[in-house]
Amino acid sequence: MSEGSTLLSWVIWLPIVAGLLVLATGSDRNAAFARVIALIGACANFLMSIPLFSGFNRLTSDMQFVELAPWIDTFNIHYHLGVDGISVLFILLTTFTTLLVVIAGWKVIEKKVAQYMAAFLIMSGLMIGVFSALDAVLFYVFWEAMLIPMFIAIGVWGGPNRVYAAVKFFLYTLLGSLLMLVAFIYLYHRSGGSFSILDYYRLPLTFNVQILLFIAFFTAFAVKVPMFPVHTWLPDAHVEAPTGGSVVLAAIMLKLGAYGFLRFSLPILPDASHAMSGFMITLSLIAVVYIGLVALAQSDMKKLIAYSSISHMGFVTLGFFIFSNLGMEGALVQMISHGFISGAMFLCVGVMYDRMHSRNIADYGGVVNRMPVFAAYFMLFAMANAGLPGTSGFVGEFMVILAAIKVNFWYGFLSATTLIFGAAYTLWMYKRVIFGPVANAHVDKLTDIGKREFLVLGMLAVAVLGMGIYPLPFTEVMHASVNHLLAHVAQSKL
């Protein structure tokens, strides 16, 4: 199955082609047509990505579904794709999320429908490209190209302050990635003219070089995750982005930064990773504690969830840099789970925003009286966000906290404060928005979610509960690749 398969290419290019087709439907007169094509494209893409998971060989850490073809011979650049147990899950997460975004934007987006749908389909293909690229230049191209549709999504369908947010998002992430490009060029020369990422794993590097490269990669990936203190673009971007943009941003784009650490920093620079682990752990713990407190002070729902995202991503980087199976797999589980939960949270805010045109907590109160079904869904996702056992939000945090305690009790202590802060900011928001008597005439006029919204939230609810009750299938896929990665990290290159 794995040999000579072109499945990965299909999964990458199908949504891009579908996106271009949608674009071709042109103006909003053909909006209905554009929606249908987009839905078919997203569905087909999701179905097509399932064999990646079902046909995945769990016993090997080798790259699977590999495709290798020369691209630019002069610089020895290849069209080189492949997935391992780490990246395969994110491809599924991407196709799943894109499908949700297309359905969620069905009625809500009224202007420039074709462009909106196309942006998300193309973005989906590009992000899958990032997760499966094994050539540094190919990776870089996908990495940068993906910014464009997101930039457009925020800039066109965003809120009132969208231009500031879009520019901030673009500059922040672009500046970070430039250093990554420099690192690639250095590695290219150093390896005697190879852009193959897997070649870099075996490349001996001196300690000082490793540190410099680590810093270069760190700037690119830390911005994306985002880690404290380069996180301030995220709340602004989320606040201004349309619901679909927020969902993709939180569910997938943040994962790309974390994925970068796994694909590049850890295996290529093991000694620097060890040397910098204290620094990384410190930043992660600041993200958990400091951002957790900052989230408590937010009055804008989207901003609150954005800060909560940063705090939860702190667990991911924490899990990576304690270098244990439990921590690493916990971090990966947290990434997937955060994809579901943050996506769901932003969709929930979107549901209310579509009706009330406000994200301000103070404008709400007593929503449950008019939207009981929605309130039930939101409760589930809020609890998942607060890390309740039985939901996916618990699994990753639990694994990372346990792994952290093993390394140092106080790492565990600080990260476990999320039990209190996470519950406090999430449920306090829930209380102010959902519970209580009907707060005002606008809330009084609210209508409960329709079939389409029910479907989208229902799919996410199944994912959140399923992963919480039975996470074994998710971690089983990772074992071989995580072991392999940890072996690389443990092996000094000096």
Binding site: T232, L293, V294, L296, A297, E329, M383, K406, A423, P437
Partner: protein, 663 residues
Amino acid sequence: MTEMQKLYLLVPLAPLFGAVIAGLFGRLIGRSLSHWVTIAGVAVSFIASVLVFQDVLAGHAFNGSVYTWLTSGEMRFEVGFLIDRLSALMMVVVTFVSLMVHIYTIGYMAEDPGYQRFFSYISLFTFSMLMLVMSNNFLQLFFGWEAVGLVSYLLIGFWYTKPTAIYANLKAFLVNRVGDFGFLLGIGMVLAYFGTLDYAAVFALAPEMSSHGVNLLPGETWSLMTVICILLFIGAMGKSAQFPLHVWLPDSMEGPTPISALIHAATMVTAGIFMVSRMSPLFELSETALSFVIVIGAITALFMALVAIVQTDIKRVVAYSTLSQLGYMTVALGASAYSAAMFHLMTHAFFKAVLFLGAGSVIIAMHHQQDMRYMGGLRKYMPITYLTVLIGALANAGLPPFAGFFSKDSIIEAVALSTIPGAGFAHLAILAGVFIGGFYSFRLVFFTFHGEERFRHAPAMGHGHHDDHGHHGSNEPHESPWVVTVPLLLLAIPSVAAGWLIGPMLFGGYFGDTILISHDHHALAHMMEEFHGVGAMMLHAITTLPFWLAVSGAGTAWFLYILRPELPGVIKSRFSLISIILEKKYGFDAFNDFFFAGGARLLGRSLWKVGDVWLIDGLFVNGTARLVGWFSALIRHVQSGYIYHYAFAMIIGVFLMISLFVR
């Protein structure tokens, strides 16, 4: 899978099934089908529990996995059951009380629009609690632990339009999370040092780990067992509402009364007691932890009982009495009398459920008036409720031959014999608690059921959703329907009789090897030698101090609330400082709201304004943008568009180049 294993699965899954049906399809299937499906689920679970209990009594036990939840590296996390005498007892108690509460709810919630939702929640609670007690590992224990917390949160805030209710449920969840924080760290320490979360494996390894030390602070070595046990116990302090994490329980009374009986008296709040009993092989290895436990328990037992004296809300009196009784159980744990704690847990589950459900019955009759100052003289209108509440009060006060006497007396006895540091203080505290317990129990009875019929001057209950309860024709209070009184009577029976099981439970080795007691802690063994049957125990008790303390407590209540009803007011004004301290509940609520809740918000706000907005965004991000803007604005002046500027610049340039390159 054997027949027995299927039965084990049935116990938690039957209520879960009911909860899912009533929760998801409640509107579709209507009210009566919703209560039938959940009651059937719990009834099946109860019958299965009884069968399991019989099987366990026959000497069988089970410890096995249901499915593998997760694997990572060498770690395996399982979901599984440990069915032994400890868990079987809990299963029977939980399902029995839950079944009674389900039936009672038909009457209590009859006119509530959230009827189906309520049944779904209490069934979901039963499932969660069963998962907690049946667990064979720390992971599932934590799952059940948090899941009961979730349902408690949902039920306290059941009337979600009531501001006090949604304040109380958030508070309950967060305070519990503080406990769970410690609990999770404890579990983490277990995994870090034992490499497994399976009870049996951990307990087997425990003795050899007992001399292990940990350095949490540089230069300080603490015993591993002490650290683990205290962390786990912090979890118990949250769930079982021990000082200073007790603050959520009184507020939880905002929820409907059936759940106060089921969750906040009989079952969930005893999870901490159960957990420590389950962990006896660990706690027995740390004298320090046991000392900590006994002191916390004693503080709770005494000081919460004192607050009960000044409460006027009938449910809050029972709530503070629950806190105090939980303190007794905790004290018993600290004295290594785990079986006495479990015994008290069981008897308390019955008589406290009776008290709460009885209070609920009164509340229905009073059209949701909960203030005892507007009750009085209800005895002749509600004879069954009166009788059952009286039994509950007698049991709560610890008077023979009621159930509470046996369990409470054995705790007092065990503490008297205990040599653990802090046992002396605990003994005094719980003796004082006996007097206060007798007093507040009978204050409740006399205040509510005797004396002047003050409800005739009660202000109308005009708030919220339950106005419609009032339209039953006459305004005379009347006895509640059979769905309310039958559970009351059924629970009253064990409130009288369960105490007689003391022989087998405490001294007959019922718990066998499920509870481990170190040879240094021989209080119970000592008591066993002196035990000569229930009759002898009661006769002996009449000659001892606790009995007379309880009697004089009850007598004082009679004196103050029947004989001289004007006196309490006088005493209150004479000792106004004490009464204010008690009415303010020692100021915990005010302090927590100000210091922790307000402090966290203030800290969050300042970090955000200073760190994110001012420093990172203001100075660095937008500062960089401004710097670039400022610099380019400066440079822009160079391109002024005036020819003479350019010409001048050119001349200077040429001049410079000539002077540099042409020598």
